[in-house]
Symmetry: C2
Subunit: 239 residues, 2 copies
């Protein structure tokens, strides 16, 4: 490098400087332009951009081309409760949010090894695969992919389209009730396709919840992978 004070890189010191300015309220909403920051910190504009990229990665700021770079005001997350009787609509209505959503795709696919194990069926078994988006107050919240044994629920997709409700569609197919057996949660980066569906910036995060729902006798009826927008959601588990 060149004349560096300590062992810390310049872009880190710029990032810390901006972070401090946000912390003490010196910059409330919008950051000065990159060119001005570069001059003020006595570094190249690239160095400022590297610093801002780091802050953006921490979710502290958000850069918008042609407009500027803004301090991201953290909106409160929706608390999505997951338990034995998780139902999307009930969950949202309990928090005075309007549930919504739509089906993206539906197809019949052969079960791969992983899904077959979850649904306790033979690999290759015909499954309905249904992809859908779920919204709260019109804001996309999650993208979900669900698999159902096709032989057991032959008219499922039509019922889903007609009712718009998983619970109601399964009821029409003869399933009185179901409950969630287990949920496995991981975190991933938003894929480009999901970013579009969730109308989010491309560098967002998702909470991935993999679940199995079973009927009252314990037979799996649905394998579910839901990708929740991490900035808008918090998953709640009660013990």
């Amino acid at each position: 490098m060149d004349a560096v004070g300590d062992g810390v890189t310049r872009w880190r010191r710029v990032a810390d400087g901006i972070r401090a300015a946000i912390g003490d309220g010196t910059v409330a909403d919008r950051l000065p332009p990159e060119a001005e920051l570069a001059e003020r910190f006595g570094v190249n504009r690239h160095t400022v951009r590297r610093a801002i990229a780091a802050l953006a990665a921490d979710g502290l700021v958000r850069a918008e081309r042609g407009r500027g770079t803004f301090v991201s005001g953290g909106a409160p997350r929706l608390a999505y409760e997951i338990g034995p009787r998780t139902r999307f609509s009930e969950n949202l209505l309990a928090q005075a949010r309007r549930p919504g959503g739509r089906m993206l795709r539906a197809a019949i696919v052969p079960a791969d090894a992983e899904t077959a194990a979850l649904l306790d069926c033979a690999p290759g078994t015909d499954l309905h695969r249904v992809e859908s988006i779920r919204e709260a107050d019109g804001v996309p919240l999650s993208v979900a992919t669900a698999w159902y044994p096709a032989a057991r629920f032959p008219g499922l997709v039509a019922a889903l389209v007609e009712t718009g409700s998983v619970t109601e569609a399964l009821r029409r197919e003869g399933l009185a009730d179901y409950r969630r057996r287990e949920t496995r949660v991981t975190a991933e980066r938003l894929s480009a396709a999901d970013a579009e569906h969730l109308s989010s910036s491309a560098d967002g995060l998702v909470l991935v919840a993999r679940a199995v729902n079973v009927d009252l006798s314990g037979r799996p009826v649905q394998a579910l992978v839901t990708r929740f927008h991490a900035d808008r959601t918090e998953l709640v588990f009660r013990s």
Copy 2:
């Protein structure tokens, strides 16, 4: 720019090219040096670096200074089960993993509003704040911050240091048993400090689990924020 084929930026096309090469096995373990990639794709080395940074952000590759850039072979995640009686050591031993860890810091701090609400005490109440790292087979798994009412457990920190076990330390302080009331899960980017503790690249992800543990009469005894390394962990909730 200059002669661009379509509306896609060059670094994205380079990234897609590398991604494809990884996908079809053309590059199995190690990427060619940046200079060679630059020449092969007919772009500047900076453009290659931008592409590699994006792939690294997706967790697909991992750059090591002086050595090269490597395809990160996804190790299977540790399934960390969370329930009413979550105990770290038991959890790991059940999967034939060796539990470990160490305390990072301990201090007495006044309760802020949020923690006070969780622990059902007045804001400003003295709390032990204990930060620690937990490991599986010597690999850092999570960084945890715990708050305990100091008045109720005066000798807690000494007991934690001596026993290395939360359950055992609380028992010495007169708490026979405790259970988890609820867990709230979010996803965040790894902070610089946590990245060091978890010996991870700076652009990793964490699963943040916020929990409250209560005694048998339902009184909160511990507020807990655990940041799990998302690449190494999967949280499992049974209903």
